[in-house]
C-alpha cells in the first residue's frame, strides 16, 4: 500500500517537476514567476488533443504541440515580458502574467468548451509490475520522459557553447552583454524551452487528470511548491522538489483526515515552510543584495 502510494507519487511528482522546471527556466531568464505557465501547458495539452482528434498519432501531435508552445512562449517573452523586465517593473510584470493566465484559460474554455476531453495515453494503457507494485505504463513513460528531458537540458546547459552563453547571461548579464552575448536572445530561449517543457508536461498528465480547462490550476500550485522547495533558480532542484511534492501530496491524500481537501492545503504548507526555513530552497543559491 505504502509502496503503491510512493510509486503514484513519483509519477505525478515527475509532472510537477517538469512544470516546476519550466517555472525555474523562466525565473532564471527574467527573474519573475510566470503565473501563466500552467495555462500554457494546458494549451499544449489541448493542441495535442486537437491534433489527435484530426487523426495525427499522439507522438506526432506532441511534437507539433511542443514546437507551437515553444514559439508562443518565446513570443510572449518578446512582446509582453521583455519591455517590462528592461524597465525593472516587477509589479506590472506579475499583473501581466496573471492577466495572461486568466485570458488563456478563458480562451481555451471558449474554443474547446468546458467539457472533459480524452487524450490518448502516449505510452498505451495497462500496467507493469515493478518490485511488487503495479505501475501504469503511462506513469513509467512519464517518469522516463521527464528524465530524458532533464538530461537533455542538463547537457545543453553544461556541455554546449549555447548553454554556456545562457548561463553567463543569467549569472552576470552586464558582463555577458559586454562580451558579445545577446541577453535578450537567451531570455527568449529560456522562455521557449520553458514553453516546450510545459507542453510535454501538460500532454503527459492529460490522460490521467482528464483534459478540461481547470486541469492545470492545481498542478500549477504544486509546481510552484516544487520549484520553491527545490530552489527557484535550480533546474535539478525543480525535479527533486517535484518528486518530493508529488509523494507528500499522495501520502497526505490517503493518510490525513479530510485527505482530498487537505491536499489543496499541502501546497500552501510546503511553500510557507520552505520560505521560512530555507528561502533559497534545497538546491538554490541564496540571493545577496548589495546596498
Amino acid at each position: 500500500m505504502l509502496l503503491q502510494q510512493l510509486a503514484d507519487g513519483v509519477a505525478t511528482g515527475a509532472v510537477y517537476g517538469a512544470l516546476a522546471l519550466a517555472i525555474v527556466l523562466v525565473y532564471r531568464a527574467s527573474r519573475t514567476l510566470n503565473f501563466a505557465q500552467g495555462e500554457l501547458a494546458l494549451l499544449g495539452a489541448y493542441v495535442s488533443w486537437q491534433l489527435t482528434a484530426w487523426g495525427l498519432p499522439i507522438w506526432a501531435a506532441l511534437l507539433v504541440a511542443t514546437a507551437a508552445l515553444a514559439a508562443l512562449s518565446a513570443g510572449v517573452e518578446r512582446v509582453l515580458v521583455r519591455p517590462l523586465v528592461r524597465r525593472h517593473q516587477a509589479l506590472p510584470l506579475i499583473i501581466v502574467t496573471l492577466g495572461l493566465m486568466i485570458a488563456l484559460n478563458a480562451i481555451i474554455g471558449w474554443v474547446w468548451t468546458y467539457q472533459t476531453k480524452e487524450v490518448p495515453a502516449l505510452f498505451g494503457s495497462g500496467a507493469v509490475e515493478i518490485g511488487g507494485v503495479a505501475v501504469s505504463r503511462q506513469d513509467v513513460g512519464i517518469v522516463l520522459t521527464v528524465l530524458v528531458v532533464a538530461v537533455a537540458l542538463g547537457v545543453l546547459f553544461e556541455l554546449t557553447p549555447v548553454g554556456l552563453r545562457m548561463r553567463a547571461a543569467i549569472s552576470a548579464p552586464e558582463s555577458a552583454e559586454l562580451s558579445g552575448i545577446s541577453t535578450g536572445r537567451t531570455m527568449t530561449a529560456g522562455w521557449a524551452i520553458a514553453g516546450a517543457v510545459g507542453a510535454v508536461a501538460g500532454t503527459l498528465i492529460a490522460p490521467e487528470l482528464f483534459l478540461h480547462p481547470g486541469m492545470m490550476t492545481p498542478v500549477l500550485i504544486y509546481a510552484f511548491a516544487a520549484a520553491t522547495l527545490g530552489g527557484l533558480d535550480s533546474p535539478p532542484g525543480a525535479l527533486v522538489g517535484g518528486i518530493v511534492v508529488g509523494v507528500i501530496e499522495n501520502l497526505a491524500g490517503s493518510y490525513l483526515p479530510h485527505g482530498s481537501d487537505f491536499k489543496q492545503v499541502v501546497a500552501l504548507a510546503i511553500i510557507v515552510v520552505v520560505l521560512l526555513v530555507r528561502p533559497q530552497g534545497l538546491l538554490g543559491r541564496r540571493e545577496v543584495v548589495r546596498v
Partner: protein, 355 residues
Amino acid sequence: MSTTATRPARTSGGGTTRRGGGTVAEWLRRPRPPLAPPRWLAVLSTVGAAAALLVVPLVNPSYVNLTVTLVMVWTIVGLGLNLLVGFGGQVSLGHSAFFAIGAYAVAVAGEAGWAQPAALLVAGVVPFVVGYAIGLPALRLHGLQLGLVTLALAMATPAAIRAFEPLTHGSRGIGIDGTPPAWVPLDHDQWVYYLALAAASLGYVVTRRLARGRLGRSFVAVRDAELVAETLGVNTWQTKTRLFATSAAYAGVAGGLYALLLEFVGPENFNLTLSISFVTLIVVGGLATVPGAVLGAIFVQYVPTLTSSISPAATGATYGVVLILFAFFVPHGLAGLARAALGPLVRRVPGRPKA
C-alpha cells in the same frame, strides 16, 4: 519632478516617428497628482455625492440596491488591497481568503445570536489578526514570494472551509438572517445598503488619511526603496505587517457585508476567481489612488454582467486582456485617466485650492 527629468532624455533618444507614437503612450503613463479642487467645489461634490447615495435605496427597486451595495462591498476590498499593493508594493493574490473569513465570521456570529454591527466588527478583527499572523512570516519574503504564498492561500481557501466542518458546515454552507433589527424601519436590501455605505465611507476617509499622511508616505518609501526607508528610521517589517493586516481587515468587513447581503455563505463563493477580480479591480481603478477603488469596483460589478451575455468565458478573457493592457498602457488606471481629463478643468475653476 521625475517626468521633467526624463522627458528631454526620451525625446532626444527617439527619432521623429517614434516620438509621434510615443507621446500618446507617454501621456497615458505620466504620473499625475490628485485633483486639487477649490474648497467650495470639494465640499459641494462631497455633499452632492453623499445626498445621492443616501437617496438611492429609497427610490430604487431591491435589485438595483443589491448591485449598488455590491459595488460598495468591492470598493471596501479595493481600498484595502490598494493600500497593500498600490501604496505598499506588496502583491496579494489571496484576499479572497480574508473576504471569506469575514463572511464566515458574520455567519458564525449570526448563528450564535450576535447583533449584526457587532458581527461586522468581528468580521474586521478576525482577518486583521489572521492577516497579522500570516504577514509576520510572509512579509520577510520579497514581492514574488508573497504573491506565491497568497496564491496558494487563495487556492486552499475553499478546501480549508470544507475541512473546518464543525464551524462552517462544510459544503452545505450557512444561511444568515440579514433582516434589520426591529427598531429599523427598512427592508433587508436597504438596511444592508446603509451598513455598506457607512463602512465604505468610513473606509474611504480612513484610507485617504492613511494614504496622504505619515503612514502612507512610509508605505510608499518602503515600496520604492526599502533599504533607504529603513536607514531613515522606518521600521519596514512592522510597516509591512501592519499594512497587510489592515488590508486584510478591509477585505474581512467587505466579506461580512457580502454575507449579510446574500444571506448565505458557502465554500465555492471564495475561490481564486474572486481574488483575481480583486486584483483586476485595483489595476483597472488605478494603483496607489484612493478613488480608483470606486471606479474599479464599478468595473468588476458591471462588466461581468455585460460580458456573460456573450459567453461564460468572456469575463475571464476580458479581465485577462484588460489586466495586460492596463499594466502596459494605463498604469495609473481609470483614476489616472480621470485626473488627466479633469485636471485642466479643475485648475481653471476659480477659488483657492484646498490645502
